[in-house]
Symmetry: C2
Subunit: 154 residues, 2 copies
Amino acid sequence: MNATDIKERLSDKTRPVFAIGVAADLVGVSVHTLRMYETEGLIIPQRTKSKRRLYSQTDIERLQCIRVMIEDRGFNLAGIKGMMSMAPCWEIKGCSEADRASCDAYKSSLEPCWMVKSKSSVCQDEVCSECPVYRDVTTCHNMKSYLQEHWKNT
Amino acid sequence: MNATDIKERLSDKTRPVFAIGVAADLVGVSVHTLRMYETEGLIIPQRTKSKRRLYSQTDIERLQCIRVMIEDRGFNLAGIKGMMSMAPCWEIKGCSEADRASCDAYKSSLEPCWMVKSKSSVCQDEVCSECPVYRDVTTCHNMKSYLQEHWKNT
DNA sequence: TCTAATCTATATTTCAAAATATAGCTTTGC
DNA sequence: GCAAAGCTATATTTTGAAATATAGATTAGA
């Protein structure tokens, strides 16, 4: 691996590099809190072979966004989860009518799509943590501005 | 007023008829709780000349929806408010680019548009409690299904 | 090798949002 | 006329979500 490769790796914000302890420090919460956010479906850290969590730079940013929602705006975890469940996945993924009809994520608003088991073939084999629905639509200001941007283009 | 008129009035679900005590009984909460929801911006009851609150049938349904969010889904008031702030008012009202540029409700996602002071001329003299943004987009299942319905038609 | 960090799972504690209560005043309606 | 209900405003209490702690096992890395 040459110097250019290394530079590229370092600048890849989606590369999982932080152990949970480091991530907790960066975000300013306890490791338990990070595990709780994961249980609630707010964040999907990568895992090592031995099931240890690894967080990327974008994960850290997502977590900071979650903290803003909690500390500045007074949301609880259920509210953040509910907000995330509003992401217009069917539009982002371009689901057909048939796709929608066979997708629990489309039909229910109780969970973000990445927590839903029975999905259409569109997402069946997708790695949710790499999906734009999960990636691009967070909760700080992004969700509303996403709707605004998207509607401009329809 | 004839029998037909009376029938019509009784079937008008938007007519404010319930005093706060009655509304509280119907919804199963205290009068103070209803006042709190109003302070938080979740509900806009009509007022009599002497500033007493009056709730309509649709208000009661809105409040029941709020209770579902709290009891069944674990939201707090900030979360419900945040959810309501996601309503795509600019689309519902058909705001132009200029309208959007001059509207704090479009630019911020911290409050539902009906709580925002400085709005574009589109909403300037509107009675928010009669506006479809407030009326049609509640929080139970409506918000997501609204987005789904709306996108179908664009 | 061996300690520190991580894992899952569960139990306990904390603290602030939500509910309740109080006060002083006004309005409604019997 | 007057009791009941409503109003605003503030203070106090409650309660469950979120954080902390504990236990027992595994893994990473010096």
